[in-house]
């Protein structure tokens, strides 16, 4: 079921321009090296794609959580894609 | 037993065409009237939920009058009489412009027309406004 849903999502996300950010792997607790390999590869892949354009949207929901983040860590990063701008202009 | 009744949305002044689903006298749902020249089969969220206030249990069933800090059910006659007396008193004391009329999106255009007529012709004030204008 997981595989079906993930395969489906993997096809859907690129259609709206969020491709390459989803991956599913089965790694057992005995496969440390595989885990390292997959995570390293994927991290690199994500890094190359640049920051998640949605990060801004969801970074904002912090207030709704009623959680006080450490001041040093509240680094809201703009996405630069114009999505928030577009949203503001609506 | 099952009917579809065309009507006009009462929420704002746009005048979107709606279609009510009625089953055994109960209002089930609201649909946009596809062929209506104003909304062309589209509605806003208020229009889509037009049926809800009709069936709402929160809806007032009769006029209420506050006596000694508590609301009481009263007849229309009593309510209108009370309102008329109060309005009359205020107008006499402070003049017509001390009264404003705020009309509602939940009544029909015709009723809104009547209300502004009431404000201008009966009360004698130009203080008229409507929530859809805000």
């Amino acid at each position: 079921m997981t595989k079906k849903r993930m395969t489906f999502l993997k096809e859907l996300l690129p259609f709206i321009g969020l491709g390459g950010r989803l991956r599913l792997e089965w790694i057992s607790s005995a496969e440390a090296q595989k885990f390292v390999k997959v995570v390293t590869e994927f991290t690199e892949q994500i890094r190359n794609l640049g920051p998640n354009p949605l990060a801004k949207t969801y970074g904002d929901s912090l207030d709704s959580l009623d959680l006080a983040p450490a001041p040093s860590e509240a680094t809201g990063s703009g996405c630069g894609c114009g999505c928030s701008k577009a949203a503001a202009g609506a | 037993m099952y009917r579809l009744v065309p009507s006009v949305c009462s929420y704002c002044g746009t005048g979107c065409g709606v279609l009510f689903e009625v089953l055994d006298g109960q209002l089930l749902k609201t649909l946009p009237l596809k062929t209506h020249p104003v909304n062309q089969g589209k509605l806003c969220i208020k229009g889509w939920n037009l049926h809800e206030f009709v069936n709402s249990r929160m809806r007032l069933q009769s006029p209420l009058l506050k006596v000694n800090g508590r609301f009481h059910d009263v007849t229309w006659n009593r309510a209108l009489q009370f309102t008329a007396e109060k309005l009359k008193g205020i107008i006499e004391k402070y003049g017509p412009d001390s009264v404003g009329v705020l009309v509602s999106a939940k009544i029909t255009n015709e009723e809104n027309y009547l209300l502004q007529k009431f404000a201008r012709a009966v009360v004698g004030t130009n203080n008229v406004d409507h929530c859809a204008r805000l």
């Binding site: 079906k4 859907l12 259609f15 321009g17 390459g20 354009p53 949207t57 | 089953l23 649909l31 806003c44």
Partner: protein, 269 residues
């Protein structure tokens, strides 16, 4: 057509028949019954489409003993199939009288009743997504452009829930789109792009491509294109034709219809 409906009502094949009737210049859905057979003279096919199967399903939810006939074409039939798959109606509860309800000789081949493609303004064509495009044409855009175009469309959303309310196969009592834990409610535009993606995912194996959502959308979001993509994936990956049969869609089935490149079973001896 009228004779057939008369026959259906008289023989008790159906207790109620949902067709159309002209009222004050508007073709409106109308319920014909044995009691008012005389009205049958006014039965027409309408160029404007209403989801008669949805109306029928709503009636059946309250009066499950009824049998209801509707005027319908391919998309209505597909919707009835989907509603049957999801147990909202039992097979046979809704009978379809197949007609050419959009007055076009192209019916069998037309994408939908709106045979004239709509035209859109320059801004939308520049920044957004042309509703007339195909999935294949969309694939021509690069990721960045796709993203910004879809976000342009999604942020226009007025959150009227019209796409859901008009949808013949949306039947959930509680809609995920109103679940505060899933999408923040109360704001406008609704959470971009989550709101529309949640709906898109829920349409997988369910959308019958009737196009009513797009017709109902006040801001012309190309919903139909999005759901076509979603169902295209379901078809490519799992070979499932939505609404084509009473078969369960892949996400309602455990295991059996897995993607072609499914994991080989590991065979440690």
């Amino acid at each position: 057509m009228k004779d057939k409906v008369r026959d259906w009502l008289e023989t008790g094949k159906v207790d109620l028949f949902l067709g159309y009737k002209q009222v004050d210049g508007h073709p409106l859905p109308h319920a014909f019954s044995k009691e008012n057979l005389a009205e049958l003279g006014e039965l027409i096919v309408s160029p404007a489409r209403y989801a008669l199967e949805k109306l029928a399903t709503e009636i059946l939810a309250i009066k499950p003993a009824l049998k209801i006939g509707i005027l319908g074409r391919d998309c209505n039939q597909r919707a009835v199939n989907v509603l049957t798959v999801h147990q909202q109606i039992s097979p046979g509860q809704i009978q379809i009288l197949e007609v050419n309800c959009c007055p076009s000789p192209l019916r069998k081949h037309a994408a939908c009743s709106t045979l004239q493609p709509q035209t859109y303004g320059a801004v939308k064509l520049e920044l957004g997504v042309d509703n007339n495009m195909s999935v294949a044409q969309m694939d021509q855009f690069d990721q960045e452009s796709l993203y910004s175009r879809w976000m342009y469309e999604f942020q226009k959303c007025l959150k009227c829930y019209g796409c859901r309310d008009i949808c013949p196969v949306c039947f959930c009592k509680e809609c995920s789109l109103e679940n505060n834990d899933l999408v923040a409610t109360g704001g406008l535009p609704p959470e971009v792009p989550l709101f529309h993606l949640i709906r898109a995912v829920h349409m997988a194996g369910r959308c019958v491509d009737c196009g009513l959502c797009e017709e109902a959308c006040p801001v012309d979001i190309p919903l139909r294109l999005l759901y076509r993509k979603v169902n295209g994936i379901v078809k490519d990956l799992f070979g499932y034709e939505t609404g084509g049969s009473h078969e369960q869609p892949p996400f309602s089935l455990l295991g059996e219809s897995t993607p072609p490149e499914a994991e080989p079973h590991s065979k440690a001896v």
